[in-house]
Symmetry: C2
Subunit: 323 residues, 2 copies
């Protein structure tokens, strides 16, 4: 199968081809890069919703409910579940098959789990590239779900078109949310498991924190939506809030798309740069420099400056176009 | 105060100077880079202990207990607490002052909290550089404590000389630890809050997971140490396990130090490279390219290749030494 025909099948929305395209992109293969080149002009239409929050907040269930409501409204949905995984288990604990549950027979829903480890080129870039494939495949909405604790995971959702931060009442959870550094990235707050004791208190705490912020006149002020994901209570209202945000924030969406593009560009540049470093300095020489640093015969800043001089002085890569 | 005299004061172990040096290094100032150059040959002596685990595992209390025991054994200690923070709160929730508690009056202990956000140059590098300052200041042991959920946080402790993974019995915590992808980085497991129901079960689960791994003959097999950090139970045994690991793993320590150096070198190279990109392409031009990507007039791979050509073809930075 050539990359071109695979690209055509992705655009046609064929699930198996989308799955294969995602793998090629996720594994950073040359064929994956070519797919992005080929399909890039066909992307940019999907709404990217980021959903994050502390572990145990009920994000997966909420995303399933959101998906059901989106489907009811006639939208097709792609879901990227970013799962921290362990090599011990050999893959995502919450695998695609488990997640597929409710939407198994629905061709309008595509679910993909991504491991957080092993993305040397950057988890945020990998997620973003996978989202592009779902976008190219014609999904109206792409939901990216992460556990909002690490910086990488926060970065992923921060540049979504809409960012939903899911909190949950219970001992320590409020502090957890604050510690996770995810409060400031929310466009919409969700207090999930709203039937639990402490839900009102949590909503008030978030409201109090928001009142410390200054909002420009007419600027979006993140609403706080209570939900019970297990029953679906509040999910319609949550999606309405997403729609309101989308309608109000065209400028914001453009600036976030720019941020996403810049992030992707930086990532690709770094990768290109390190390939060039590897061409200039064989691995054994890099190891020798690292050993010299370990032995304290050279300091890291001098080593880096020295390598930079050599890399930049080496022949530039051949232009493929007149420049 | 000149950088040289600050370096001398750091080596003399003056706490205020160490604090200032850490700030200069953490903020990626030129003075910080100079400090690392000046002090690098004086480093490499401290034992770096990484402590990680899920939120709420009692890591901070355990680190305090470990510190007390290390002090009893005549060792000086530096602690770097990597705290996810929120701009809402304006800093680390668990600030240095709170943490100082038990060791406030002890000049043999230096505690520093580091925020996870805002380290564009890389949290792992920033942490590593702060550890260097504590190393140069003559601390015998440097403990780096992180919440082991994000990839960054895992990377930080993964390259420590000894990595301690702290688990805690309780609903979902085991799965949490697995999901966090931190199982495979442990040199020593701690089951903290060992008086709680489920502690034995958790220890057995970890043991069962370990039995799935193949260990070479004579290779270190991570022990599982039960502790009660609040009372100090098991902390002596934990530190004994650290000593045993240290005695058995000289080769491993060398390879991790190399990994740490390589990581630092890559990070510095990436930073140098992006400075060069910024010198070659003014920000408005980079923005225009990102906008072109957003408008789908150019794909990211073609944009990156184009920028690389221009950057590499531009005049290399002036050598400061004959090369």
């Amino acid at each position: 199968m050539t990359a071109a025909s695979l690209a055509d099948r992705v655009v046609a929305g064929d699930s198996r081809s989308v799955a294969r395209a995602i793998s090629l992109v996720e594994d950073e293969t040359p064929a994956g890069a070519q797919l992005i080149r080929d399909l890039y002009a066909r992307t940019g239409r999907a709404l990217l919703i980021g959903v994050t929050g502390p572990p145990g907040a009920g994000k997966s269930t909420l995303v399933d409910r959101l998906t059901a409501e989106l489907r009811r409204r006639g939208q097709t949905v792609g879901i990227i579940a970013v799962d921290p995984t362990s090599p011990f288990t050999g893959g995502a604990l919450l695998g695609d098959r488990v997640r597929m549950g409710a939407h198994h027979a629905d061709p309008g829903v595509f679910i993909r789990s991504m491991a957080t480890r092993g993305h040397l080129g950057g988890l945020a870039r990998a997620t973003s590239d996978v989202a592009l494939m779902l976008d190219a495949a014609g999904k109206d909405v792409v939901i990216v779900e992460t556990v909002g604790v690490g910086q990488d995971e926060v970065d992923i959702v921060r540049t979504a078109d809409v960012t939903v931060v899911v909190l949950v009442p219970g001992a320590g959870d409020e502090v957890q949310a604050l510690k996770a550094g995810i409060m400031e990235i929310a466009d919409i707050f969700v207090v999930n498991k709203a039937d639990r004791e402490g839900a009102d208190h949590l909503a008030h705490s978030v409201s109090a924190l928001l009142s410390l912020q200054t909002f420009a006149p007419g600027a979006w002020r993140p609403p706080i939506q209570k939900t019970e994901a297990t029953t679906g209570t509040g999910v319609v209202e949550l999606l309405d809030a997403v729609d309101r945000f989308r309608a109000q924030s065209a400028n914001l969406r453009a600036s976030r798309q720019r941020e996403r593009q810049t992030m992707r560009l930086r990532d690709l540049l770094a990768r290109e740069f390190f390939r060039h470093v590897e061409r200039t300095l064989p691995p054994e020489e890099l190891h020798a420099i690292a050993d010299g640093m370990a032995a304290r015969t050279i300091d890291p800043y001098s080593a880096a400056a020295d390598i930079m001089r050599r890399v930049m002085a080496s022949a530039p890569p051949k232009p493929t176009l007149a420049s």
